[in-house]
Each structure stands twice: as C-alpha cells, then as structure tokens.
Assembly symmetry: D3
Homo-oligomer: 145 residues x 6
C-alpha cells in the first residue's frame, strides 16, 4: 500500500501557489484530474456549494452518483475543519473567509485495487469582516471515492 | 493592514516540499525566521512537545517568556485541528501520525505596529497503526506573538 | 440499580419500525408513556421545536416546569449529536434531514427512587438537499427527569 | 437514487434486538453481509479495534485494502459520536461502555452504480465505572465502501 | 419561573474568592448546601473523580442514586468545557490544571416544583506543565437534580 | 513568571457582582483597564459584536491594529465556549442568552516582559426562548495582547 502520488500535496499547492510557482509541478499534475476555484463568504453553505459546483462542472465527480457526492462532501468538511480550526462556523462566529480551493482526483497508491481517492484543499484568509483584519488559513480533506 | 509576507504559505511549503522544490522560495524565506522538524507518534503530547522543543532550540520563541509559549501553543493546537480534522486525538482514536512540521516567525503585515506573528504547519500522513494504511494530512495555525 | 426497562431501545424502535414491525413490542410499550413524530428540515431549530412541541402536546413533559423542559432539551441535543455525528449543524453544512422521532418517558430502573427518565430517539435520513442523495442516520439521548 | 434496503436500520436492530426479536427481520438480513460482536471498555481504542477485528475476521471488509479499512474506520468513528454524544472519549471522561455492535455491508440503493455501503451500529450502556450507574446509548455510522 | 437564588454565582464565588472576600456572601450561602475542594492534575479523570468524591463525602448528592450521580456528572463535564474551552482534554494536550472547585445544591427558582438544582464551578489555572507558564480559567455547569 | 494580578477573576467579578458587591474589589480594579457591558440575543454574532464594540469604544484595544482585534476575538470565543458548554451555537440550538460581560486588560505577571493580557468574562443566563426557562452560565477567555 505504499503511496506513489501525493494528491493532498498537489491539492495544497494548486490552492496556494501562483501559476508561475506551479510550473515545476506540472509533470505530477498530469497524472491526476484536478480543478481550481475561488470563494469568499461569511456563509459556510456557500463555501461548500462552490466546491461541489466546481467538482461537478469540471467532471471531477459523477454528478448523478450519490456515492461520489458523499465522498466529496466529507472531503470538503474535513478541509473546512482545517480552515476553521475546531469551530466549523464562519458568519455565526463573526468571521469571513476568502479562499482559493483545489480538487484533485487520482490514484495515490501503487496497488490498483486501492482505486481512486479525492483531495480537497483550501488556502486563503480568515478574519473579521473588515478589510485586512485577517490571517492565512489552510485545510485539506481526503477520501476514497 | 495589507499583508506583504505569507508566513502561513511559507510554513506549509517548508513542511511539505523537498529541499529541491523549495529552491524557488529561498528569497522569501530570507525575510523570516524558521525551523523544520519531524515527529511520528500515536501520542498527541509528543507531537506538541516536538514542536515546542524545536521552537525553543532554534530560538523561534523566547523560552523564558510564557507570553511566547502561550502564542506558540495555540498555533500548534490550531495546526493539529487541521491534521486531526475535528477530533483532536490520535492514539485514543486508534490512529497514528507521521508528520513533518515547520515553524515560521515573521512580520506578515505592512504596518510595523502589527508586529511579529508565528505560523506552525504540519504535513504528513495519518492512518491506522499499520504501515501504508494512511493518507495525507495538513494543518496550519497562526497567532500573533 | 439494575435496569428493568430499556426506554432507549423502545424509543429507537418507535422511531425506526413500521406499525406492523412494532407489534411484538406492544407489551413493553404499555409500561411507558410515549409519542412519535416527524420532521424534515435544514434548520436545527425546527427539529428541536418539533420534538419539544410533540412532547408538550402529548403531555410527555409538564409544560410549565423548566426542570422538565431542561431535561428534554438536553436529551434532544444528545440525540442530535448522533444524527449529525460530531458537527451539530444541518443547513449551515449544506445538508438536510428527514427524521421520524419518538419520546419515551418511564422508569428504567428497579429502584423506585431512581424515578423517571426520558429518551429521545431519531431515525431517518441525512444528506444533500437533493432527493435521494442521502443515507440513514440515528440518534438517542437519555436524561433523568 | 431511491433506497431499497435500510442497512442502517438493520445494523441497529442487529445490535439491539434479541435473537428472538430479530426473527421477523431474517428475510431482509439475507440480502446483506453482516456480523455482530460485543465490547466493554473504558478505552476507545479497544472499542475501535473490536469492531475492526470482527469486520476482518468475518470478511466484511478486505483486510489488505486500505480503501476498505478507511471506509470502515470512518463509519466506526461516526457510530462512536452517537455513543459518546459530542465528546468522543470514554475513560478520560471517567466513564465506561458496554456495547453490542453490528456491521452490515450491502447495496442500499436501486442503482447498481451506487455500489456497496457499510453500516456500523452500537447499542448498549454508558456510565460511571460502577455497576448499574449507567444508561442506554446508541450510535450509527454509514459510509460508501 | 423567576430565579430567586443564583446557585451558579455562589459556586463561582466559592471557587474563586478567599475566605475573607466571601464574608459578605455568607447570608446567601446559608440557603444552600455546598462544599469546596482542590485538584491539580494533567488527568481529566482525576479532576472528575475529585469533584465526585467531594460531593459524596459532603453529602451533596445521594451516593446510591444513579439519578443524582448522573446529574452531577453532566454538571462537572459542562464546567470542564469552560475550563478547557472547546477541547475537553488536559494531559493529551500537554497542559495541566490547578483548580479550586465548589459544588452548590439548592432551589434557584421561586416555584417549589422546580425543585433542586446543582452547580459545579471551577476556578484556577491552566497551562504548560512548567511552573508559572499558565493563566486563569473558569468553568460552570448547572443541572436539575 | 508568578502571577500578581488575577485579571480573569476581576473580569468574572465585574460580570457577575452588583456595584455594591464590587466595592471591596475597587483597589485591585485600579491596577487594570476595564469596561462592562450587556447583551441579550439568540445570535452569536451579536454577542461577539457587542463585546468588540465595547472594547473599541472604551479603548480597551487599539481599533486599527489587527493584532489586538485578533487577541480579543480569541478571548471572546474562549469565553463563549464556557457560556455554551461545548456547542458554540445559540439560536441554531433554539436557545437564547442574557449576558453581562466585562473586559479587563492588564499585566498579570511580575516580569515586565510578559506584557499585557486581556480577559473577557460573561455571566448571565442561557435557556429556552421563553421567559424564566433558563439557568445561569459563565465563561472566561484569556489571551496575550
């Protein structure tokens, strides 16, 4: 069960690096399916929806299968745990997020039977709903799909 | 209060990239103090201690000031929230972690009065206490110091 | 302090079985007070209200006593922990529930001094706000009253 | 994506009913793979291990696939959330559990592509480490596998 | 249901004030049953036990009734939530507590039917297992009994 | 690092005592900056805002520094953990709070280098959105500033 492909690391890099900084990682990115997106909100539901919509539009998951929706949903929630660090709320806690996100789908393990996995990464800022009153935040969720 | 230096991103990169991959980020790293370390354990207390010890040994914090210990401690705990995604336990939950970590101390904001902040990042694996039965995990905590 | 009556089990069965399936449990149900209800919502407050209203309307608790409201409220919250599994939110997390619930009040212990206890059980589905994209969920809360 | 088989309900019934009470549910049980077990402990790790061991011994999951271990692990943790209601700890919180559990693997949805899912249910008691000072508790976790 | 006696406030004062500072509150204390204690530990179970033992020894609860043990237990856990602020762990989180506590039992409401309630308060320090590297902490739990 | 001034205790007393009861604590209050306020709401965001606004209006923090806003914000959230005891939600959980609060800023430690710290205390009631159906609650958060 050794890992050959770090889909989580790729997701984090896709979410946090500039196009230029990503250049060196293009070869590894060719081995996975991925998409990137952005969302800024005080509303957690909007953050979740933004990732789900991007995943469906870019065919990272099969829209009509609950199985895949379920896998993605839990990966998103795990990523949000990192972003919100223990209190999965944004607006209710009087804070706002400005996030870039990336979804990566691939085969991280050598054994073909381990199949596909999905990684959802967030990188951006969290803070008071006042411009500049914010600091960085990161989250990563991974699930079998 | 605009941000000039992404200490969180630097910490994540220090924790997840190889020496070679880090080459392009050396200029930015010159503007901060940082250290790197490794810890593998089923015991959360050991993970916390490993980071605290590295921070003190590398003079990222002033050992004799509780103020700085307190700041670092909360940054570590926030990073662990991302690693453990909502259930801050490892061994009690029958799982183990193998982590690289980085601590970055610097001045992320343009205003000199915003002073120094500290970032603690983790990157590695979490999983069953069986070789290979694990996936990637990431965490980031940030605090004013 | 040995238990003679499993009010929690009865509550779970009342919430999850059909009328027909419940037939064999009618004798045990004669030893307790109970009521059943249904609620579907993305709003946790509505779920809580539905149970509280059913309890009052069916005289499972004495409406004018805060003591009994307090006991029921904590039993409901504990049941919701099982339903939501660690993140007590529904709509904010972009998910919806369709639940049957049951409230059982009785004397589970042999010792008369142990008095009355209340059980609140939920059974139904939780999932995306899309028909069919959901799986089963269960929760049980128990409190002294 | 309509549901044809309630694997969660079957798991709860397997964990909470007597052999005799289960009689009426035998036909439905023929459509799934399942096993039952028991565990009493103040140690969460032992509870998790007991379920994992039963799943492997009874071939509910393929031991050598991390993918299946991962799916089961998260289903167990979700079940434990219901059992412990919001504070996933037992001994550290000075309480002990005596649980029966059941694992059910099957195809809950009509669409063949939705594939197999796994349900882990717990039923038993939680309380002070003193005989009789305890009340009932229930938990259910469900995951795609 | 108006409140006539603030058992929570009395518990907090008993836990945090010196004998001398408490002088002015003696009349109110005559209307309730209470006891005080101390506990220092990295082990949550010891903190819980210390309060339970004090409650039994001072006859704040009836030892042989699970009903009363159950009520006290949940009041203790709620108090610990305040002390640990969101992560109910001490040693696992590499921190230690030094606490004074008080248990107050009385009738806070005007209506006789509201009966007795119990309050558990903690006041002291929480911090690194290093002398002086700590700050104050407070917690209060209240339950019907 | 011994403590000379209990800013947490002062905050709790400011939040819970009457003017008259506070008389004996006036000398200690002269050594710190503080303010008091009140807020009643089912909306957590309003509770947070009330404290932030009071802190700024009374110059307990420097409004234009994110550093100080960040420190205060985390102290508020920690205080709310005590108030809500493990589930940082109010209205979503169908409950309401009526709180007095106090913010204290001072130098709790003997060593001048330990600098200033901030304490946020809450005292009041939490309960159903029905007059009188409520009990007392307390919370305290402390942070370096």
């Amino acid at each position: 069960m050794s890992q050959k492909l770090a889909i989580g690391k790729l997701a984090i890099l896709l979410a946090s690096l500039s196009e230029e900084e990503l250049a060196g990682f293009r070869p590894a990115l060719q081995e996975v399916k991925y998409c990137q997106g952005k969302v800024g909100s005080m509303n957690m539901q909007k953050v979740i929806s933004a990732v789900e919509t991007a995943a469906k539009r870019n065919e990272l998951i099969q829209d009509h299968l609950y199985r895949e929706t379920h896998s993605l949903y839990h990966a998103i929630l795990e990523g949000i745990e990192g972003v919100t660090r223990g209190k999965p709320a944004i607006g209710e806690m009087s804070r706002t997020v400005g996030l870039r996100f990336a979804i990566v789908r691939g085969r991280p393990y050598n054994e073909p039977q381990e199949g596909e996995w999905i990684a959802v990464a967030f990188y951006g800022t969290i803070g008071a709903p006042v411009k500049g009153a914010e600091h960085e935040t990161v989250g990563l969720g991974i699930n079998h799909i």
